[in-house]
Amino acid sequence: MVAPRYADWAALRAAESARILAACSACGACFEACPMIAYVPDAQGAAASDTVRGVLSLLQGGQGDAAARGWVAACTRSAVCIPACPEAVDPMLMLRLAKFNAQESGVIPPRDARDAMARVKAFARLGFTEAEQKDWL
């Protein structure tokens, strides 16, 4: 059994956010490496360091700026930022934690997943045999 490192998600989020805030120098290398910036209209022409500071603001419960909010919303976890970071921050986790905060506080809209599980079940009823529905779900 690999023992848990944190009591719950809140403890994980608090500890990792504090670590990231202490480690990140806002150099902007993660922003420069990200393949999704091309798809963030508000990030076109934005300064890399300023945008990272916006993400750090979201991480602390702030509003960030438009470029940071757009970047956080467009992160698809390509992971190329991780080796680009000179401070071993794990910028992909930084953006994910910032997104948690921003969605909880309504700074960026949450993903609409209302029908996700109902759709999963409907496809299962179509494609699985009755025995598979009983044994696999």
Binding site: V2, P4, Y6, W9, V120, L137
Partner: protein, 271 residues
């Protein structure tokens, strides 16, 4: 006690044949694995914009795994795979080892290779993505290279994200990835696009209608070489001019007509 769980995730319910084939392949290389997935075994990711709800779902799934006594959790979905390693494992503890299906089969390639007896004449480009903590970018090309007659065409293009799902909601991103993959196929002379994950399969099978190519999942190609029949019903429905007729009234009624009309048919009718 189950040797292993084959954790296929949620959205794989669209692709029952891949779950069946994957389970049979594991059996063929000596791994008895019980498929598990759907809403009762969710990693929480669909509800990640409400982390408190996502945490509850993830905890329930992790406790189920830990109580199963299984020595290994074999993953399919890369989102589940990553969540198992980070949030789920970090907060619940992890009883079982975990590895992706492709990695498990690759690790047992000495058992698998002699079973791949059927020639599969295809020149394939694989829909590889940048982000992957699952090992698939090495394991899937390796597995496909075991298939007699099949040529894996090397190309440097890697789509953003770790599968097509994330790209679909970002204007322009999925369209660019599709265009780049078609360009890679043209440059290499490939006739078949191979998907790795379910969401990629879902987003790319429609190319068969317009681009004059075949789109298959890597599991389908292994099955063909094993001589195992299968039907990719999702692709048949998605590429049909009339998905409702393709599924058939009887199956729609059995699955719940209202749910199929509201949740399934609009997806299958997308251009």
């Amino acid at each position: 006690m189950t040797d292993a769980l084959f954790w296929y995730g949620c959205n794989m319910t669209r692709h029952a044949e891949i779950i069946r084939l994957g389970t049979r392949m594991l059996q063929a290389v000596g791994v008895g694995a019980q498929p598990v997935g759907g809403p009762a075994a969710c990693c929480g990711s669909p509800k990640e914009s409400t982390p408190r709800i996502a945490e509850g779902m993830a905890n329930r799934t992790m406790q189920r795994f830990n109580q199963s006594g299984a020595a290994q959790v074999i993953t399919w979905c890369p989102t589940c795979h990553m969540n198992l390693d980070d949030f789920m494992g970090a907060t619940q503890g992890k009883q079982a080892d975990s590895a992706h299906l492709a990695q498990v089969l690759w690790d047992r390639r000495q058992e698998l290779a002699p079973l791949l007896t059927q020639q599969v004449g295809a020149r394939v480009v694989i829909d590889l993505h940048m982000g992957n903590g699952t090992g698939v970018n090495q394991a899937v090309p390796g597995l496909l290279r075991l298939i007699p007659g099949l040529e894996v065409m090397d190309h440097p293009y890697r789509a953003p994200s770790y599968m097509c799902f994330g790209l679909a909601s970002i204007p322009g991103a999925l369209e660019d990835a599709r265009a780049n993959m078609l360009a890679a196929m043209e440059q290499t002379g490939a006739d078949t696009l191979v998907t790795i994950f379910h969401s990629c399969h879902r987003e790319l099978v429609g190319l068969e209608r317009h681009a004059g190519i075949r789109v298959l999942n890597w599991v389908h190609l292994l099955a063909e070489s094993l001589g195992w029949p299968y039907q990719d019903e999702y692709k048949a429905w998605r590429n049909s001019t009339d998905p409702e007729a393709a599924i058939g009234a009887e199956r729609i009624a059995a699955a719940g007509e209202d749910a199929v009309r509201r949740l399934v048919l609009p997806e299958l009718r997308r251009p």
